[in-house]
């Protein structure tokens, strides 16, 4: 007997909106958060556009005192604000001093892809090289350690169950949700915060720029730059932000009268072994299809029950291959294919945060009965033209929407897939 897992709270800091209301509005309007950054031009990046949460320096001062702010680089800051928002959204109070009460039943799995690179680049490397190590102060380790995000949130919310950070490149956010789901299912926790974050820094984006995998042809039209499933896609647009979901044991949620957004029916993670078409940077199709089928089996959901797919769909050469993998895994031809959209079309590819922010988008769509547009693909890629009718280009009201499958794939040939169902009581 496994415990059922539901979502009772969410928080998001995205390039096109902070908070559930703003983010949902942006999704419905097809509002892009992609902008041109002069700094990237100065640094001679090929891609000079990106998705960065707006006004964040002002936003974070509304949440944390001066002492805490000094320890929050962007990565940890995005995660901390999202986690506090999710916690409050789930109906809990956030207080600095809760009389020493530790919540032993709640934990957190909050990961990132690359993490505190800005702290390393702007503080650690220059200061160490200048012989100023003893002047770096006490706040370096907590900002560059891989568990920096979960460690900070664990302290903010006095969490006493497992508090850890996962890392699986661009699959991090969804992997965190799958892992947290299992912890609740098996009875090891009543409640888990799950999510991902990524800082906004040229030092994070540089490696992708030098790989020539990011968009370089739309520097003068940033909002058109992120083009998943488009014939004119020319690489992904890097993004930043965080998303956090509060996962809860169904019984616990019902007992406390929590508002429930959706149920996580199932999930699966695997790796393609970097064989048979898979590599460090490309997925083995068999691995992807096994992951999708694994998630459906875990969810006890038939392929024809999937109403829509929120894909990984980054705007690289891999998009058509992803659609084919979904089609084969679900055994559903173009005519019979679920609707499909890419949240990245509006926010870019938020790397370690992608799966978490996009899962927030999935749950908002289920809860609100709509599918957000997948923008910038009026010219659907010729290899997937047959699926063109399944891509919403404007917001689609969909009151009967019940189940969305969400996938993410990452460097290392790692895959994750989740099946979410609208909560109908």
């Amino acid at each position: 007997m496994k415990n059922r897992v539901v979502i009772t709270g969410m928080g998001v800091v995205a390039p096109n909106g902070h908070g559930l209301h703003d983010f949902e509005q942006a999704l419905r309007e097809g509002r892009s958060g992609i902008r041109f950054f002069p700094r990237l031009e100065e640094l001679k990046f090929s891609c000079q556009i990106g998705g960065m949460p707006e006004n964040f320096d002002e936003i974070r001062t509304r949440y944390f005192d001066h002492e805490k702010l000094m320890s929050l680089n962007d990565n940890i800051g995005y995660m901390s604000v999202s986690a506090v928002d999710a916690w409050r959204d789930a109906g809990f109070a956030f207080s600095d001093d809760n009389n020493g009460q530790v919540d032993w039943e709640t934990g957190a799995i909050l990961g990132c892809g690359i993490g505190g690179m800005d702290t390393i680049a702007e503080r650690v490397v220059p200061m160490v090289n200048e012989g100023k190590t003893r002047r770096m102060g006490s706040r370096i380790v907590e900002q560059v350690m891989n568990s920096g995000t979960s460690a900070r949130v664990g302290g903010l919310l006095a969490l006493g169950n497992q508090v850890t950070s996962n890392s699986a490149a661009c699959s991090t956010g969804t992997e965190a949700i799958v892992d947290a789901m299992w912890r609740i299912r098996t009875g090891l926790a009543k409640r888990m915060l799950a999510g991902g974050s990524e800082g906004a820094s040229p030092y994070i984006w540089a490696g992708f720029d030098s790989m020539r995998v990011i968009a370089r042809k739309f520097n003068d039209q940033p909002e058109r730059g992120s083009r998943p499933m488009s014939a004119s896609a020319n690489g992904f647009v890097p993004g930043a932000g965080a998303g956090v979901l509060v996962l809860e044991d169904l019984e616990t949620a019902l007992n406390r009268g929590a508002r429930i957004y959706a149920e996580i029916l199932g999930g699966y993670v695997n790796c393609g072994g970097q064989r048979n078409g898979g590599s460090m940077t490309a997925p083995n199709p068999e691995g992807v299809q096994r992951c999708i089928r694994g998630a459906l089996a875990d969810a006890d959901t038939a392929p024809d029950e999937i109403d829509a797919i929120n894909g990984h769909l980054t705007a690289t050469f891999a998009d058509p291959s992803e659609i084919r993998n979904w089609s084969q895994a679900l055994k559903r031809d173009p005519q019979d294919f679920p609707y499909v959209n890419s949240t990245k079309s509006m926010i870019g590819h938020c790397l370690g945060a992608a799966g978490a922010i996009e899962s927030v988008a999935v749950v908002l769509q289920l809860h609100g009965g709509f599918l957000h547009p997948s923008i910038n693909c009026e010219d659907v890629h010729p290899e997937i033209e047959a699926y063109g009718d399944k891509i919403p280009h404007t917001v689609m009201e969909f009151p009967e929407l019940k189940i969305i499958a969400k996938s993410c794939f990452g460097f290392g040939d790692v895959n994750s897939c989740l099946v979410f169902k609208k909560w109908e009581g």
Binding site: D65, H66, E67, M70, D97, G137, S138
Partner: protein
């Protein structure tokens, strides 16, 4: 700079690290930085660095280890400044 001025400067330096600023209102030389002001022990390092910047001096680790109260800090600073 006399002792009173150094004390006041020390209070200013500590302010960002103290959760409850009211605790500084009644601070004396005997006020313990960790126990009374509830400053996180890891942040003492940052307080020392700030002192070095504000007073343009260097405080070696042995001297820093002696600092428990605001008065201890004032004594170390006075010794360095004179």
């Amino acid at each position: 700079m006399d002792e009173k001025q150094i004390f006041q400067e020390m209070v200013n330096i500590l302010r960002p690290y103290v959760k409850d600023p009211a605790l500084l209102e009644s601070a004396t030389k005997d006020t313990h930085i960790l126990d009374d002001l509830k400053v996180n022990s890891a942040r003492l390092v940052d307080v020392i660095i700030k002192c070095e910047d504000v007073f343009d001096i260097e405080i070696d680790d042995d001297d820093a280890d002696q600092i428990r109260t605001i008065g201890d800090a004032v004594d170390v600073l006075q010794k360095k400044l004179n």
